[in-house]
């Protein structure tokens, strides 16, 4: 288990409660991992091992599933994850230039977290909002459509201010 501080114990408790609520159902691993990532922000090895133990399956099975899906992360991510759609529809509308601008504004490489831990930038596959291409998703729910490179500083500023 993770070096325990109270916060983690709480998170583990909540995860356990969730697992109990699914008792008896088949094929729940992915649901449990969704919940775990929602709680912890990412899926450290310790959390994966914890899930394996609770569901009585091998840690390698859990790890195999975690690394298979894009949604699950084995690395910590920025507080605000900036996901830039690089699907064909967004690509032809200039998503690559939007990506470049984000990277240069924040001074990071793709997948890296900024020093203050506030942002990380990720290229993702189609987000299913092609009519608004190019599309940027910040966090889980904040969509920005028809993004131009010039809009990038404004978007970043918005989350910097919120973070304060």
């Amino acid at each position: 288990m993770l070096e325990c501080c109270e916060k983690h114990a709480e998170l583990y408790n909540e995860l356990e409660k969730y697992i109990k609520s699914l008792e008896g159902k088949k094929g729940i691993l992915i649901n449990v991992l969704h919940k775990a990532q929602e709680l912890f922000g990412w899926l450290p090895q310790e959390v994966q091992e914890y899930v394996a133990e609770k569901l009585n399956i091998s840690p390698s099975t859990v790890h195999g599933v975690v690394t298979f899906y894009n949604f699950f992360s084995t690395k910590p991510k920025g507080k605000n994850q900036i996901k830039i759609c690089l699907g064909t529809a967004c690509y032809v509308k200039g998503a690559d230039r939007v990506m470049e601008r984000f990277l240069s504004e924040l001074g990071v490489e793709e997948g890296e977290v900024t020093e203050d831990g506030n942002f990380s930038v990720h290229g993702v596959r189609c987000l299913g909002a092609c009519s608004m291409a190019p599309v940027v998703l910040v966090g889980e729910k904040d969509f920005f459509g028809k993004v131009t490179p010039d809009m990038v500083p404004t978007i970043i500023k918005k989350y910097k201010e919120e973070g304060k």
Binding site: H34, F68, G87, K141, F144
Partner: protein, 540 residues
């Protein structure tokens, strides 16, 4: 009903443009002016306008497109308070429903019949528009009669593969088992495609109703909707719809006193394109990594948890209630002989109008492009990709091909999931090919060699070509890899990544050769690089 109804479109595109705030603003204004008893403000699905948020005022039948709160206020003040139209914000109804020259075939709404008309969160409104009538009718029919009706209608899978839906149901019906399942494939991950999202956001009950009918027809008592985790709006509307359907007795035990039971739940995907492949999707529901299974056995024999399973796409299912209500003969009268019915098309890329339209099968690419008003800006359309990322890239020569399930075999133009993606002449074919192959390399599950190694090698060659270093042999090898994967890959993904690649090479061979022989790129995007090995810019 109150004398005035204001409809606000709150589909995912409108939400991006501030629809939720506009909706709230209107609700507050109505309260502030004490209009509660005469004005109803309701949410609805997409109304076909993608340049602003659509606000419709009924019964006046006036449609506005708004972008700011001031504009919303203006409409409230002028139209609702003073009863005067606001011409500068008005869009014609014609534009909303059809946006096309009169010569073109009429949009025919089956799948999208309720979208933009009803509040997707209200089961009452769905019922008021003949919702769950098909279920009531189906429960009085025998399973064989239902399956025959669907078979007779000629409905085929709208997810891309085009397998006859009635046959799927029949195979599942004929396999005996203590438990069978109905699965709705809502893992829409095909770049350029967003129709299922708009269907689920705008009319979730039609999918649910169809799944219950399918369950009754094949003898399944459990259903799963496997949906992309990113589709928050769809998930929210579906959850609410399922809850309401239980409350009204359309789900659960003894549905409409028929002794038939059916339970439905939602499973969230976790971001893997391959999970749109039906057996990979089943693996994922079972909690495993989504790698496709070897077929046969097919899901109707051995599917979810080893039990007989029907897997249908969202759009396919949304066709079922109208077929049950209106009959196979009616359905067959629409579209073409081998491909009856309609198709929902999604416009994407460099097209000036982007959105979904539903048209009878057999519409041509040119007609669709006319609807989308051609290329945007000053650049011209260079090519169109039809059918999704696994679909074909075509040039103008093939724009008159009617799109249906035979157009790929006959003319090399995919129908696929109905994407019409425009690409203008600022783009280079090699660069586009690289973008597409990067996607497939990333999404290949790695189970079979032709796909795992083929996509990787294709990316390498295209990177070389982008550096203007490729040779004729490289191009030949690229074609060889593609043909090999087409013949030998395990699943639909591996067999279809060659489709976009080969269509690009075949239709734009000259441009590929220019990169090789003259080290020249028309769009000036591919350049020589001093140091070796410049990876494509971003890894997906």
């Amino acid at each position: 009903m109150k004398p005035i109804t204001v409809l606000v479109s709150v589909d995912s595109n409108s939400v991006l443009l501030g629809a939720r705030e506009f909706y709230k603003q209107l609700v507050e204004l109505v309260k502030e002016y004490n209009f509660d008893s005469i004005v109803d403000v309701l949410e609805t699905g997409t109304l076909g306008n993608y340049n602003g948020v659509t606000i419709a005022i009924m019964p006046d039948d006036v449609y506005y497109s708004v972008k700011t709160k001031d504009e919303v206020y203006k409409i409230f003040e002028e139209h609702i308070l003073k009863g005067r139209k606001v011409p500068e914000l008005e869009i014609s109804k014609q534009k909303i429903i059809t946006y096309k020259p009169e010569k073109l075939p009429e949009e025919y709404k089956i799948v999208t019949r309720n979208i933009g008309k009803i509040n997707p969160k209200s089961i009452e409104e769905y019922i008021a528009n003949d919702g769950y009538f098909a279920l009531a009718k189906a429960l009085k029919m025998t399973p064989e009669e239902i399956i025959n009706e669907i078979k007779e209608s000629g409905l085929r899978g709208r997810g891309g593969a085009g397998f006859p839906t009635g046959l799927k149901w029949e195979f599942t019906f004929k396999t005996s088992s203590d438990q069978k399942y109905i699965v709705c494939n809502a893992d829409e991950g095909e770049p350029g495609t967003y129709k299922d999202r708009l269907i689920m956001e705008g009319d979730p009950h039609s999918v649910i109703e169809a799944m219950i009918i399918a369950g009754y027809a094949v003898g399944a008592t459990k259903g799963y909707i496997y949906i992309r985790g990113e589709y928050f709006g769809s998930v929210e509307n579906l959850r609410k719809a399922i809850k309401d359907a239980y409350e009204y007795g359309f789900l659960g035990e003894n549905i409409l006193n028929s002794n038939f039971n059916f339970d439905l739940s939602i499973r969230l995907g976790a971001g893997a394109y391959i999970c749109g492949e039906e057996t990979a999707l089943l693996e994922s529901i079972e909690g495993n990594a989504g790698r496709p299974r070897l077929k046969p056995p097919y899901p109707p024999q051995s599917g979810l948890f080893g039990k007989p399973t029907v897997i249908n796409n969202v759009e396919t299912l949304a066709n079922v209630p109208p077929i049950i209500l209106n009959g196979a003969k009616w359905f067959k009268s629409i579209g073409t002989e081998n491909s009856p019915g309609t198709k929902v098309f999604c416009f994407a890329g460099n097209l000036s109008s982007r959105g979904i339209v539903e048209l009878p099968m057999g519409v041509t690419v040119r007609e669709l492009l006319a609807l989308a008003e051609g290329a945007s800006g000053t650049s011209n359309l260079k090519m169109v990709q039809t059918g999704g990322i696994a679909g074909t890239f075509i040039n103008e020569e093939k724009f008159d091909t009617p799109l249906d399930y035979d157009s790929f075999a006959n003319n090399g133009v995919s129908l696929g999931s109905g994407v019409i993606l425009g690409v203008n002449d600022t783009h280079c074919v090699v660069d586009i090919a690289l973008n597409v192959m990067e996607f497939f390399r990333h999404e290949s599950c790695g189970k079979c060699t032709p796909c795992r190694e083929g996509t990787k090698n294709a990316v390498n060659i295209l990177e070389k070509m982008k550096r203007l270093e490729a040779t004729k042999e490289d191009l030949d090898y690229l074609i060889e890899i593609s043909n090999l994967a087409k013949d030998t890959a395990l699943c639909g993904l591996g067999q279809s990544f060659p489709v976009p690649l080969l269509s690009l090479i075949n239709n734009f061979k000259e441009e590929f050769l220019e990169h090789i022989e003259k080290q020249y790129c028309r769009a000036n995007l591919c350049k020589k690089v001093e140091k070796k090995k410049v990876k494509s810019k971003f890894k997906l």
